[in-house]
């Protein structure tokens, strides 16, 4: 389960929009394999009677009422934007979105 191919790394890099060189792909494949092997050791401890745990605290149904609270102003919000135009965040063009 720890095997990660160079192609896997290239695919993940594409999904994460990280441009990796050939040398970096080789390096990352090796490094990620070590990380995965380390994580896989956890499953040796987790036997069938240990359910996968996503939340450490046994809490459910933490809700809030449907009551409006003030939003930030557009000025405050856009002050944090690298660029803005027409009161909107300006971002690089999307190549393959929908």
């Amino acid at each position: 389960m720890s095997a990660i191919s160079r192609d896997d790394v290239a695919h993940l890099a594409m999904l994460a929009r990280i441009d990796l060189s050939d040398a970096e792909l080789d390096k990352m494949s090796g490094e990620l394999a070590i990380i995965l092997e380390s994580v896989a050791r956890v499953s040796e401890v987790a036997t069938d009677d240990v359910p996968p745990t996503s939340h450490p605290l046994p809490m459910t149904n933490v809700n809030r009422p449907d009551v409006v609270r003030p939003s930030l102003t557009a000025e405050a919000v856009l002050a944090a934007a690298p660029a803005s135009e027409q009161q909107r965040f300006s971002v690089p063009r999307i190549l393959d979105g929908d």
């Binding site: 009161q87 971002v91 999307i94």
Partner: protein, 515 residues
């Protein structure tokens, strides 16, 4: 890769009837419903439509570091009620998940959704077809998620995504609660597949309206439909049709009117058939629907679910509705669609045929609202299925977003039934309403439209017309009452249409001693 809207090369299609000789269509419909809660799914920002850009955002919905989401209890209740209305089982414990992707319409770089633990699953919706039959749509799941921001693509030849220089994003919509309703494959619809798709979305829309969980404004995007379609070989033996493996599907995104749902299914069927007939295979991809030209164009190749790297959202604790709470919500269910349809038909006194036409036009809700606003059932049906349908159809628009409200129609109907306007004047008023001149009363006032009740003016006109047509008048005097028709026409002309034709006839016959 996206393809520009304009100037796309038309793909070959085959005749619709030809498709069905060789192939059997299978559909899957995914409907996104924007809930009408006051606040967003995970923060207290307001959800108003059409507000100034980026005025309804906060650290949570902008995904700023350290912000923690908290679930909106009203959104969860709405999701459960939708699940119950769709005859689903309600999960006793479920989690949210992060759907990771890198489009700028979500500032967090992921969308909070549900993955393998939907709040509702295994349901169905019985859809009444225009011919009176029922088609059962099986519901795989209804899950909670949040809406994305809205992008405006700037620059480039077409202004669309392809060739755009940059995009401008408004996050007001990001985080508004959505429920996504996913059907199981719809099989066995055959030639009726496009109508089944449309009837399903119309039934679902009316149900959501009755549940009061959404504004159900398709033109504002509060209901959005993705249409999955595939063709498989048609079996000689109908009983064995479902043993034939499914073909490759395409997913046409954002089909946002009832009319378009029907057209998109029909178009994809004819396009798939042309590809398959040519010996090629269907590429599993998303398609963009073009409302103006009625065609789809290639979108991106569909990502695998793996590519979204779903994992349980650590910042939100699981949702675990108690059985008692689910039963409380079940007690708030509106009447099922078929019962509602029968009740309304009885209330309105429509014949089966009339009701069928109303359903086929997707006008049940509009007529219900019109009657609630004080219109007569007869008038409501006459206007929506007559003049308004004709005008909407000429402009390829849905009745519901054509610019006339139920309140307008009720008011217009009232103007006719009270005797202020005749039908021809009412049609002029309708034109005025459609031209955004105001409410029917305002338009009638502004255009000076009013039936002349004053016999004085009418009587003068009758006298003038009789004097000008002595030969016709003599015939009427001799008892040929039918000849009065010619005189009535001239009187109406003299009165510029603003007279009660029945009263004009009475006056003519009286004056000529033929009454």
């Amino acid at each position: 890769m996206s393809t520009a809207t304009n100037g796309h090369v038309a793909e070959p299609v085959v005749d619709y009837a030809e498709v069905l000789k060789t192939y059997d269509p299978v559909m899957g419909l995914e409907v996104h419903v924007e809930l009408n809660t006051a606040t967003k799914m995970f923060c207290g920002c307001a959800t108003g439509f059409g507000e100034a850009p980026n005025t309804q955002t906060c650290p949570v919905c902008l995904g700023l570091p350290g912000a923690l989401p908290v679930v909106n209890v009203a959104a969860v209740d709405s999701a459960i009620r939708i699940g119950l209305a769709l005859n689903c089982e309600i999960a006793s414990w479920c989690r949210f998940a992060r759907k990771n992707y890198f489009y700028p319409d979500m500032p967090k770089n992921f969308q909070t959704s549900q993955y393998d633990e939907p709040i509702a699953y295994n349901g169905y919706l019985d859809v009444e077809m225009p011919d009176g039959s029922t088609y059962r749509v099986e519901i795989e799941r209804a899950h909670m998620e949040e809406d994305t921001g809205k992008s405006l693509h700037i620059g480039g030849a077409t202004g669309r995504i392809h060739g755009a220089d940059h995009s401008l994003v408004d996050y007001n919509r990001a985080g508004i609660p959505l429920v996504e309703i996913v059907t199981r494959p719809l099989v066995g619809a055959g030639a009726h597949a496009p109508e089944v798709a449309k009837a399903y979305v119309a039934t679902l829309r009316d149900l959501l309206k009755a549940l009061r969980v959404s504004d159900v404004r398709m033109e504002q995007g509060s209901i959005r439909c993705d249409v999955n379609l595939s063709l498989r070989a048609r079996s000689q033996d109908p009983a064995a049709q479902n043993d034939v493996p499914l073909g490759t599907r395409t997913e046409t995104k954002n089909v946002n009117s009832l009319r378009s749902v029907e057209r998109a299914v029909r178009y994809e069927m004819t396009r798939h058939a042309a590809v398959l007939n040519g010996g090629a295979s269907i590429l599993q991809e998303t398609r963009h629907w073009h409302e103006d030209t009625g065609v789809t164009t290639s979108g991106r190749v569909k990502s695998d679910a793996d590519d979204y790297r779903y994992f349980p959202e650590p910042d939100l604790v699981p949702v675990a509705p108690t059985r008692e709470h689910v039963e409380e919500l079940r007690a708030t269910m509106p009447e099922p669609p078929a019962e509602r349809r029968r009740r309304l038909q009885g209330d309105w006194g429509y014949s089966d045929l009339e009701m069928r036409d109303v359903m086929n036009a997707g006008a049940v809700l509009l007529i219900e609202e019109t009657v609630a606003a004080g219109g007569t059932p007869v008038g409501a049906r006459k206007w929506w299925l007559g003049e308004i349908a004709r005008r909407a159809s000429a402009q390829a628009r849905d009745l519901a977003d054509f610019g006339v409200t139920a309140a307008d129609v009720a008011e217009l109907d009232g103007l006719v039934t009270s005797g202020r306007l005749n039908d021809s004047m009412a049609r002029q008023v309708l034109d005025g309403v459609l031209a955004s001149e105001g409410s029917p009363v305002a338009v009638a006032d502004a255009r000076g439209l009013r039936l002349v009740k004053d016999d004085g003016a009418l009587s003068d006109a009758v006298d003038a017309v009789i004097a000008a047509n002595p030969a016709v008048a003599d015939k009427v005097r001799e008892g040929k009452v039918a000849a009065a028709g010619a005189l009535i026409g001239q009187v109406m002309k003299e009165m510029k249409g603003q007279a009660d034709a029945a009263r004009a006839r009475e006056l003519i016959l009286e004056k000529l001693g033929a009454a």
